[in-house]
């Protein structure tokens, strides 16, 4: 089975790419949320008169802080509401550390959306297993939102989420709400427990054997560290889900975001243009090679 990976915004109807994909458009921060010790979410609204580009689950934007730099960040918000852009990322470098410090009302440049999308619509009629590791829950969130908004079109829907420690778990409130409000099986685990943690302990791949789904009619969407992706696909295979039913999100050092500069090249692929969402089979060999 091979589903199409969407190449353009599908959720809100395509209006075409921005006239100049290299030109950041001005948006403004309407909310900044600290998710964990090093992870934050920015909610952005366009400056008056600025066009709003529809986006599809899995795509990313280039966010620009004048005088500091520009970074690619996946969109983590609702694709049916592109008037507010939501981005969740870790503060690990010069640009993202500055971004973590910006506040409501501050300006930020946005280029995008870019890249391919999760096969959300093509997965209708199937069970869907989302497997997220660490910050990888953020790029999967729009796909989950989209699936849950049309819940009756899917079979079993499962979210398996692994974090380093309980303090690193993202979107805690939303996980609780999803668990309460939707027919969604959620299993969360941590690699390292604290003494007050009452949940699962162990790597996220260990959860795969515990949840019910029909392997022959399951689509898996996976996002996290690449080593996690590889072992997740292996574990899914042990359960009978063939690798052609797995889709993954990859991350590299995207700079131009339109396939010109080559910074994000992985073998024959440009992650910014050919990805970030790939059918696993397309990248499987590349993920096990060093320094591709």
């Amino acid at each position: 089975m091979t589903l199409a990976v969407a190449e353009a915004p599908a959720a809100a109807g395509r209006t075409g790419p921005p006239s100049d994909p290299m030109l950041p458009r001005p948006w403004r921060v309407c909310r900044s949320v600290r998710e964990t010790d090093d992870t934050f979410t920015l909610e952005l609204i366009p400056e008056p008169g600025q066009p709003v580009q529809p986006f599809a689950a899995g795509q990313f934007n280039m966010l620009y802080l004048p005088g500091i730099g520009e970074v690619p960040i996946s969109i983590s918000g609702d694709p049916t509401y592109p008037h507010t852009l939501v981005h969740t990322t870790r503060a690990v470098g010069a640009v993202t550390k500055k971004m973590a410090a910006i506040r409501r009302g501050d300006a930020i440049g946005v280029r995008g959306p870019f890249g391919t999308a999760w096969p959300v619509e093509d997965s209708e009629g199937n069970d869907v297993v989302f497997v997220a590791g660490g910050i990888g829950l953020a790029p999967l969130r729009p796909a989950l939102i989209q699936v849950l908004s049309r819940r009756e079109r899917y079979g079993r829907v499962v979210l398996l989420y692994g974090a380093r420690t309980p303090d690193d778990i993202l979107f805690r409130k939303q996980l609780r709400e999803w668990r309460a409000d939707f027919d969604l099986e959620i299993q969360v685990t941590v690699d390292r427990a604290t003494h007050d943690w009452r949940g699962n302990v162990g790597v996220v791949t260990a959860l795969i054997s515990r949840v019910p789904f029909e392997p022959g009619h399951t689509v898996a969407m996976i996002c996290g560290p690449e080593v996690m992706i590889r072992y997740t696909v292996m574990e899914l295979e042990r359960r009978g889900v063939t690798p052609d039913r797995a889709y993954v999100s990859l991350e590299r050092n995207m700079k131009c975001a339109v396939g010109f500069c080559g910074h994000c090249q992985l073998g024959p692929l440009f992650i910014c243009k050919d990805g970030p969402i790939f059918p696993y089979e397309k990248v499987a060999v590349l993920l096990s090679q060093r320094e591709v």
């Binding site: 690990v92 010069a94 590791g133 660490g134 260990a206 054997s209 515990r210 996690m228």
Partner: protein, 158 residues
């Protein structure tokens, strides 16, 4: 008397085993319930059982004289727990504690070891299954060692 054979036969662990082999394993099985906080086994004790978790959650802990026990892994519904019964000197390496009311099928490993000595086909079937479980546990332990969520950010400092 009702046997545990039908219950055991439903579990993926015995899928592909012959009815007589399943009957033999079921002959060593008993239905057991553990209350929250109750230990199934403790580090250093004789390991003469393994468990098929029917419903509930078990934590594997490493004891430490100076700290609270270190929680290493949790296991849940449908999972197999315990392989020390297979390997001399047949002692538990860690402790197992019920995190909630947990129902298990407890298989008497000592009884099963004896039966495997007499029936090598049965022994081979069981070893194949435990090798698969151990390989999965080894993968998990290695991934935990990698600390992959921490290292994931090291290469991308933007």
């Amino acid at each position: 008397m009702e046997t545990l054979e039908p219950l055991l036969a439903e579990h993926p662990f015995v899928r592909g085993m012959s009815p007589s082999q399943i009957e033999t394993v079921a002959g060593c099985a008993s239905n057991v319930r553990f209350q929250t906080g109750q230990y199934l086994f403790k580090d250093g004790e004789e390991a003469n059982q393994f468990y098929i978790i029917r419903k509930g959650r078990i934590a594997i802990e490493a004891a430490s004289p100076t700290h609270d026990p270190i929680l290493i892994h949790t296991y849940g519904d449908g999972e197999i727990l315990g392989w020390s019964w297979l390997v001399p000197p047949y002692r538990w390496r860690f402790s197992g504690k019920a995190l909630e009311l947990t129902r298990v099928l407890m298989i008497d490993g000592k009884c099963l070891r004896g039966k495997c000595e007499k029936d090598h086909d049965l022994g081979y079937e069981l070893l194949k299954r435990f090798a698969d479980i151990l390989a999965g546990r080894l993968d998990s332990a290695r991934l935990q060692l990698i600390d992959m969520y921490a290292s994931a950010s090291k290469g991308r400092r933007r």
